[in-house]
């Protein structure tokens, strides 16, 4: 008798109908969007703030350098003494006073710049001022040495190395960033999925133990069927939740940005900044073109198929371990000691993915970890956009499937014994003994 569909259906419906699941499903994207909107709004607020900076230049070298910008107004206080200037700035409640002390040479000026203010000034203001001054002084020095600025500007050359593989595939810098984004997203998605829904499976196994229904159920179905039904049912619920998050998140993001007119692109993550830097090299037009070619350059079919296999394989591997933990203990607080060995390889995989794959996608470390079954799903998913030979993917997948089958066997053993054990927190030694029952 195959009860698997029945069990899957029950697990799915119970999860989906659960109140806290529903609340989480619809509230999470709201909270996320609200958070993003608040951050965006605040950073915009910060950018919009008007500042007045007074400048007291006793050297005369920097005349005309400080032009008013959108957010900053510069007022020159030339002719006043330092004390008067400070008093005046205080009274006007200016942002601060930039002071160049008397100096006989350009180097002397550089050593004698001060910024007076009520509160300590923001880092970005100071560094922008520093950049301005450095540029000005450099130009002055060059002029003194008889070099004209125009000459320097004319001599500047922009280089971009065109990349092409031996097979004739063209690529560019943007390619790597796109690959990184795709690989990283896939690996990270898997990581999140395992953590969230693996835990859910574990809790559901524990619930069956604490409600003592387990013996009733397994007098009707095989423990392994129950376990697989749980894993698949919970995963389907997870996929449903994820899909709702993506759709709802997208819609909300659109609505919020439309209503509040907040330019969400201003909220930048470090990755986006990298993209932006790459963008600056080209014009926006060329950039868009590059992006499209970069995406179309990706081994899409391979990527999608590999994603499906590694995602499912990796997820099932970890969730059967989670199920085994749930079966071994009586309540959630007892799970801690068993969680560590599961979380370690998972976190390791993400670290390897983030630090090593980016540096050298085909280096020894990346390659090895993309074969080790517990880390391979995450690491391999990150590597694949950079082009991994099919035999490597196949071998890694084979290892993963082999380990998965072993893990299911192992988990089923633990499960079969563990679900009928009450009242005692098992040790690793006892778990090992259970395998032989």
């Amino acid at each position: 008798m195959n009860h698997l569909p029945l069990i899957i259906k029950r697990e799915y419906l119970t999860k989906v109908k659960n109140k806290s699941f529903i609340v989480m499903t619809f509230l999470s994207p709201l909270i996320m969007i609200a958070l993003i909107a608040v951050v965006a709004y605040l950073s915009q607020l910060n950018n919009d703030k008007q500042r007045t900076i007074s400048v007291l230049d006793e050297t005369g070298y920097l005349k005309g350098e400080f032009q008013n910008t959108e957010n900053t107004t510069y007022t020159s206080l030339d002719g006043l003494s330092l004390e008067d200037a400070i008093a005046l700035v205080k009274e006007k409640e200016d942002y601060g006073l930039l002071y160049f002390g008397k100096a006989s040479s350009l180097d002397g000026v550089a050593g004698n710049v001060k910024f007076y203010s009520e509160d300590s000034p923001s880092l970005s203001v100071i560094s922008s001022l520093e950049r301005k001054i450095e540029k000005r002084l450099k130009e002055k020095k060059l002029e003194l040495d008889g070099v004209s600025i125009a000459q320097i500007e004319a001599s500047q050359t922009n280089i971009e190395i065109a990349q092409e593989s031996f097979e004739g595939e063209k690529s560019s810098k943007i390619d790597n960033i796109v690959k990184l984004a795709f690989g990283g997203a896939a690996g990270y998605l898997l990581f999140m999925f395992i953590i969230i829904y693996g835990n859910m499976i574990m809790r559901s196994v524990i619930e069956e133990k604490t409600s003592r229904i387990i013996e009733v159920i397994i007098s009707s179905v095989k423990p392994i069927q129950l376990m697989m039904g749980k894993i698949i049912g919970t995963s389907l619920a997870g996929v449903t939740q994820f899909a709702i998050w993506v759709v709802l998140g997208g819609v909300l993001l659109f609505v919020v940005s439309a209503i509040f007119g907040i330019d969400l692109a201003q909220v930048q993550s470090p990755q986006q900044e990298m993209v932006n830097q790459a963008m600056q090299a080209d014009g926006a037009q060329a950039m868009a073109e590059n992006l499209i070619t970069a995406i179309s350059n990706l081994p899409m079919t391979n990527l999608i198929i590999a994603f499906l296999f590694f995602f499912i394989g990796g997820y099932l591997l970890y969730s059967s371990l989670y199920a085994a933990i749930g079966a071994a203990v009586d309540n959630e607080t007892d799970t801690q000691q068993f969680m560590l060995p599961i979380l370690m390889p998972l976190i390791l995989a993400v670290y390897v993915g983030v630090f090593t794959v980016i540096e050298d996608p085909h280096g020894t470390v990346s390659t090895v970890f993309s074969f080790v079954p517990l880390t391979s799903p995450v690491v391999m998913l990150m590597r694949i956009p950079f082009g991994v030979p099919l035999w490597q993917q196949g071998l890694s997948l084979l290892l993963l499937i082999g380990t998965f089958i072993f893990a299911v066997w192992f988990a089923a053993k633990i499960y079969r014994v563990g679900i009928l054990m009450y009242g005692k927190k098992p040790t690793y030694k006892e778990l090992f003994k259970w395998l032989k029952y």
Binding site: E215, V216, V221, Y437
Partner: protein, 308 residues
């Protein structure tokens, strides 16, 4: 083939602990079979083996003459001692789910559930969640789920725990009715009075070994000591007492009676007939009370366990 279930020298160990040692039982068709034993004797292990939850290390279990196979779970209804239901699931949904796991179709399960819900007058529980029910109420649902697929063999492990006397009686009557309709019942409990009331056959397991089995009446015959409880009335109590004491082995007895009697347990030799005792007693005093002492299931249980 008159035995529905036969366990033949079943052994099971967990690590170094031997839970069952060559245990054999035969459960006759249509009987109520009491599986008795102190806590930790191995009853639950045996029941789990019958339910194919665990596999025996050695020995075989036959159901209806065939070695146990996965299809047999449809023929068995099991109410474990450690039982529960999904707390946040609705009663109706849950019953349907568990019935379907036992191989019933959804429509069939619905029909039978309706019958049982009407019979036990709990129709309005259908949409309640289990956590809204009391423990006894949940037990009723559990009972229905156990018997719903009309199994040949019913296994009840402490079925009356959590029930008030009225509901315990109700369930007892249902069990008897199921037996009359042809089901065979294995009944595991520590409540000896219900063993007395229900069981035709018993087996006693102690420290992983079967130490006793057979028809309850045969076992009682085996355990009886030819002892009679008597109540006598006489004007000369002391004389009568010493005369009896000279002739028979006598122990004091306690039972309720209207008169201020001589109350005695008199043990006869193997061959002696109760008629001889009775005629001796009538010649000495007025006999108000004369009963053969029949060992109760509880006495047999305690005696066997202590002697082993």
């Amino acid at each position: 083939m008159n035995d529905l279930l036969v366990a033949d020298s079943v052994s099971k160990s967990f690590g170094n602990f031997k839970a069952l040692n060559q245990v054999s039982i035969a459960v006759p068709k249509g009987s109520i079979f009491g599986l008795l034993g102190p806590n930790g004797a191995g009853k639950t292990t045996l029941i789990r083996i019958i339910n194919q939850i665990t596999m025996p290390d050695a020995g075989a279990v036959l159901l209806d003459g065939q070695p146990l196979k996965p299809e047999h779970i449809r023929d068995i209804g099991y109410l474990p001692e450690e039982r529960g239901l999904y707390k946040s699931m609705k009663v109706g949904e849950q019953c349907l789910y568990l019935a379907q796991l036992k191989g019933l179709s959804k429509t069939e399960a619905k029909e039978r559930l309706k019958y049982w819900f009407d019979k036990l007058e709990i129709g309005d529980w259908w949409n309640k969640k289990i956590q809204e029910l009391s423990k006894g109420q949940a037990q009723k649902i559990q009972f229905i789920v156990t018997v719903l697929h009309q199994p040949k063999l019913l296994i009840f492990d402490e079925p009356f725990s959590g029930f008030d006397p009225i509901n315990a009686n109700l369930i007892k009557d249902e069990i008897l009715q199921l037996r009359d309709e042809g089901a065979t019942v294995i009944f595991s409990t520590h409540r000896m009075e219900s063993v007395e009331e229900l069981c035709d056959h018993i087996a006693l397991i102690h420290k992983s070994n079967k130490v006793l089995d057979g028809k309850l009446n045969d076992i009682k015959r085996q355990f009886k000591t030819n002892t009679f409880e008597v109540g006598l009335e006489s004007l000369n109590k002391d004389k009568v007492f010493s005369e009896i004491q000279d002739k028979f082995e006598v122990l004091p007895a306690t039972f309720k009676n209207l008169n201020d009697d001589i109350k005695l347990n008199i043990k006869l030799g193997e061959q002696a007939s109760p008629n001889d005792l009775l005629s001796f007693l009538t010649s000495k005093a007025e006999v108000h009370h004369f009963v053969e002492v029949i060992p109760s299931a509880s006495d047999i249980f305690i005696q066997t366990v202590k002697n082993n």
